[in-house]
Symmetry: C2
Subunit: 126 residues, 2 copies
């Protein structure tokens, strides 16, 4: 989807993403991916035992429920907000209305982490 | 600079960056950094032999001159544009007016890469 120069545009990328919960690769930096994803509704509890996961909200409001040894809490992200879910921390994203977000994580990171199941999606190309 | 929840806001981050060409760490994902930087004027030719470097322009227009075995070319990035300078490719960013950009690259990546010199800056904390 990049033009001949190799530039990718984030707005153009989101325009090509039709469905929520389907991560699309925007760019790669060595063995890390920057993905665009739309979120709508509630996802499943999961964790990524091997890696942190960065959320950058572009539009909408995203709630991330977090569960660890200290109990459960929520963070609520709006546009321009960045949050890193540490490796191994269980989390469940929830969007009351449609959210556009960028994700930064190692290539090969699976959207449902250690939970697997029906919500697992491959990373799509734009 | 993050609030008690661990959220960081990109607009707040740029408001805390006074000078151009001084990268500030916005967040870390494992051993990768997401940095905010203001660019104004012309930088020095340099490359990062060991790593790709991602530029995400938030405001303004950024020109990146690129030089490799095929010769020299330029890419011009506006808001929402993303470009990855591949490892080892010489590049020189230039901003005719002030630009705000995010950088994604491994922790420890030096702003002047293999060129060093007076423009070298440490990564600052917000």
């Amino acid at each position: 989807m990049s033009d001949a120069s190799g530039i990718r545009n984030i707005a153009d990328a989101f325009a090509r993403v039709a469905e929520p919960w389907q991560p699309h690769r925007l760019a790669s930096v060595n063995d890390y991916d920057v993905k665009v994803v739309k979120l709508d509704g509630e996802f499943v509890w999961h964790s990524h035992p091997e890696t942190d996961e960065l959320f950058l909200v572009r539009s909408g409001r995203l709630t991330i429920a977090l569960r660890d040894a200290d109990g459960e809490r929520e963070v609520e992200l709006g546009p321009d907000d960045v949050f890193v879910v540490p490796a191994g921390v269980e989390h469940r994203p929830r969007a009351e209305e449609a959210v556009e977000a960028l994700l930064i994580e190692p290539a090969g990171t699976v959207n449902t982490g250690d939970a697997g199941g029906a919500r697992t999606q491959p990373v799509r190309e734009l």
